[in-house]
Subunit: 542 residues, 2 copies
């Protein structure tokens, strides 16, 4: 496929995917081979081309096995990482954009040959199910990276590389020869998270690289393996083209010896991409560097009216259960008016609606084929204790999902199905904060108008990445869209069946708006590219 | 001309101008009429459609007459301005982009009918010559505004307004109807300066408006009249389309009662455009809002080698004399190696080169037809005293231009021709700071390499909007471009004749790179547009 075709596909926003998300579409033998490679990697040093003399360290724990993986990664001194990044930058900035594209595309194709290893690496660091691990860390991440590269080729072609500017001055023509250059800013730092170690990291990583910057990847110490695969294949692609592997480096650290702030504050680091919690994200934003943050928000659901309440309840049940609510796009607060939900069969009362959602979650959890693959495992213990503490504080309002879900393959998996707390609009102390993990709040409001007003205010104040709304009333639909968009929150309307609010597709959905406190950047709009370099126009009199 | 054609012209970067910069191209009677309107305006209240009940105040002084203009402008309470801006925003954000374009274009065409009045208004507030006043505040400003509008129409059309996203799920198609909306951020504040009250203000003003934001223009209290003409014609264009005039407001204040910080810090103000000194610019940037700054820098000239030194000296003499060095693009420091300047006739020593530049300035100042129209007048007394203080401190190194330039038309004009201080590379305390106005420093360095190194460091540390370089050596040319571009400073090479480094043309030259301390934004790149709104994608299941 030509770049021009990719640019066209990216602009059209219709369904487009370059890498196949279906593991069954790949050669049957790859699954077993991927597992074998993964197992061989356990209890070994993960050597990288760019880090020959490094010490090694690792602390990953499988949420499925609850034992350490024993994989150790190169651990370099910050000064060395920076010096190598500067060297890498000086080489890479001189490579033209088309060549950069070719090399980076090569790295993605190399990664695609390791999608099954990637799936196991992701499962056993994040706790995602096999299918989500395969899709999110493999084809979906590669598509997001390709989307960034294609967006960049579009933006970098905005001005002609050179032009003759001819101004008639009456008796003569004034001719100036001009060139236009995109000058990369320097060294970029990409700070990863523990739940989506590649999907959330590769957009910033490939955006830095395609625009000519060098990159330092600082993974979460509990989820290094998946992104190490990307770094390795990038380094191999650089070496294959006679370039320094240090154009990209893995700078891993330990929970007890973090290096993120030292890297972020280093004057050589000009660009920072960050995914994670709000406190650290606010710190990153306060540094005054060019930065791209995805922090947390509170995602809301408004249920006003619908054609089929069971379909709505099932859709919500899946969305809140998927990866145990550990997705930044997962709904947390569900707002239903005390007047109930309008349906063709008549009004469904608040209590019946609450019960309907609760039953749909229970049905999903009691489905032995669906429950474990939907939930995956909980990435870390802190999420479990936070959820359990919250439930304890609100025992009277909690609808405990007392079902115990077992994973047949992994008996030690850290699993917890979603719990529900039923509350009222006035009780903001209970529900108006982010509660990451398998816990949702159903909030009884006075009216549709109150629901919308709270959801809007919540997005403006606490941030929101998604908003899911159910209404069959066109006026209310327009009002929700207008009000939520005005606080820079996109709305998904009337999702049932196979459409889930959690899912943002590359080449079509803008992930995080950048306009509310959930983050200042978007995968992938023009700003996500253009802030990484400066346009310079030089003029020559010939 | 169709918008598609304008977008094409803007992308091509070839010479393009929509408004004619030659006053002689306009009807002969317009000059006298413009003067008449200007004179009638003196000592009166400047009424604006949007400010019926305002108090009036003004403090402009003509640099040519050194008497007050006596024009008083509406002065509204900040709370009222903000409330009206919010109202204006709520109406304007609902107008589609094409309609916004038409209304704003109408306003520019209305302004174009007042270009001669505009010229007098600009002369007698800024001290620019008649020709510069006409060009910069009239056609060039309108072209910069149109460039912004065209750039915005290009950016706002990036995504389709709606699309059906169809994903084949094996046994069925998942269809989502999606829309993409550019949501404006809110109220914009544009803070003007005293030397280019429209050219530097209208890009931010029209960028806010074309993207759907409302705008508050806070002019410099000594240069209100020119931008009041824009605000008035915008308000008339809004009214002619049945819209509130308060989509744009003039918020003038007095030097002793400034309201800029109150406006800038108001939570309703989401966007700030600023032109002016560094201290206030740094304050604006520290507010954490979306902001676009053009601050000061130190512009440098490197003279290494040339084909014709006299042509070089004449070009520099004009560039440093034009509007008495009160342009943000004017050169300040000229670096020449102690090894001299290489020319086809042999080496020109440092002293001879210094003398050549000094003689070229003297010749220009002694040319009675050229001197006064080149210099214009000094906008304010502070510039004169700053320059004179600096000369006093460096009496021994100063090459005083003792020529007295008289303006035949305005005997009281505040005029000062350029002075030159000759210094050495080591004496950074003398030359390594911005000295706004008619004063330049010629700096003797050890070598070409030292010149370039100082100029690069100067741009990185103090900022630079332009860099002028003279060299006939291709390797040095490439080195200058590479090194200066790496600190985000554009270079103009070997300008002689009618090409001047001071001049940045709309639809071709990027004004300020946004990558060094001279400012964080560019007239006009994609960022200058895209930061003013947020892309939102909504999804519907039908």
């Amino acid at each position: 496929m030509q770049i021009a075709d990719l640019i066209k596909a990216n602009r059209e926003r219709k369904f487009f995917a370059h890498y196949n998300e279906n593991p069954k579409a790949y050669d049957e033998s790859l699954m077993a081979k991927g597992l074998e490679v993964f197992q061989k990697r356990l209890n070994s040093n993960y050597e990288l081309p760019g880090s020959p003399d490094a010490e090694f360290y690792g602390e990953e724990v499988s949420p499925y096995l609850q034992t350490g993986l024993g994989i150790h990664y190169p651990k370099l001194a910050v000064d060395k990482v920076i010096a190598q990044a500067e060297e890498g930058f000086d080489a890479w900035r001189k490579i033209d954009a088309q060549k950069r594209f070719d090399i980076l595309f090569d790295s993605l194709n190399r990664v695609s040959e390791r999608f099954f290893e990637m799936a196991y690496a992701t499962m056993h660091t994040t706790g995602q199910s096999f299918l989500m691990s395969f899709q999110a860390s493999g084809p979906h991440a590669c598509d997001r990276a390709l989307e960034v590269m294609v967006s960049a080729m579009d933006q970098l072609g905005y001005y002609p590389s050179e032009v003759d500017w001819v101004k008639n001055m009456g008796k003569f023509d004034l001719v100036l020869h001009k060139n236009y250059k995109s000058i990369p800013k320097g060294v970029g730092l990409i700070i990863g998270c523990s739940t989506f170690p590649t999907w959330n990291t590769v957009p910033g990583l490939y955006a830095d690289l395609i625009t000519g910057n060098s990159a330092i990847v600082k993974p979460h110490p509990k989820a290094v393996y998946p992104i190490a695969i990307f770094v390795e294949e990038l380094q191999k692609a650089f070496i294959a083209n006679g370039l320094s592997p240090n154009i990209v480096q893995l700078a891993s650290d330990g929970s007890n010896n973090p290096i993120t702030k030292t890297l972020a504050e280093h004057p050589s680091v000009k660009l920072i991409d960050y995914t994670g919690g709000n406190a650290f994200g606010d710190y990153v934003e306060s540094l005054g560097k060019t930065c791209f943050t995805e922090k947390a928000g509170i995602n809301s659901v408004i249920i006003d009216s619908c054609a089929n309440f069971n379909a709505v309840a099932q859709n919500i049940a899946f969305s809140v259960s998927l990866y145990s609510g550990q997705m930044c796009t997962a709904p947390q607060n569900i707002y239903i008016s005390e007047n109930g939900v309008t349906t063709p069969e008549g009004l469904i009362s608040y209590d019946d609606a609450l019960n309907g959602i609760s039953q749909a979650v229970r049905a999903l959890m009691e489905n032995p084929k669906a429950a474990a693959p939907t939930l995956g495992a909980i990435q870390n213990d802190a999420t479990i204790s936070r959820v359990e503490d919250t439930i304890k504080q609100h025992q009277a309002q909690a609808i405990q999902m007392d079902i115990v879900v077992k994973n047949a393959e992994f008996e030690n998996a850290r699993i917890k199905g979603p719990s529900i707390i039923s509350t009222t609009a006035a009780d903001t102390a209970t529900y108006m904060k982010e509660c990451f993990g398998p816990l949702i709040f159903v909030v009884k409001t006075k009216s549709f108008e109150e629901s919308l007003s709270i959801v809007k205010n919540s997005a403006a104040t606490h941030g929101a990445i998604t908003c899911l709304a159910y209404t069959t009333d066109k006026q209310r639909m327009d009002k929700i869209e207008d009000e939520m968009n005005s606080v820079f929150t996109p709305v998904s309307f009337n999702f049932t069946g196979a459409a889930f609010v959690n899912q943002h597709a590359a080449f079509s959905d803008l992930h995080v708006s950048g306009g509310n406190p959930s983050g200042n950047a978007t995968f992938t709009n023009a700003d996500f590219i253009n802030k990484r370099y400066i346009w310079i126009g030089n003029r020559y009199m010939l």
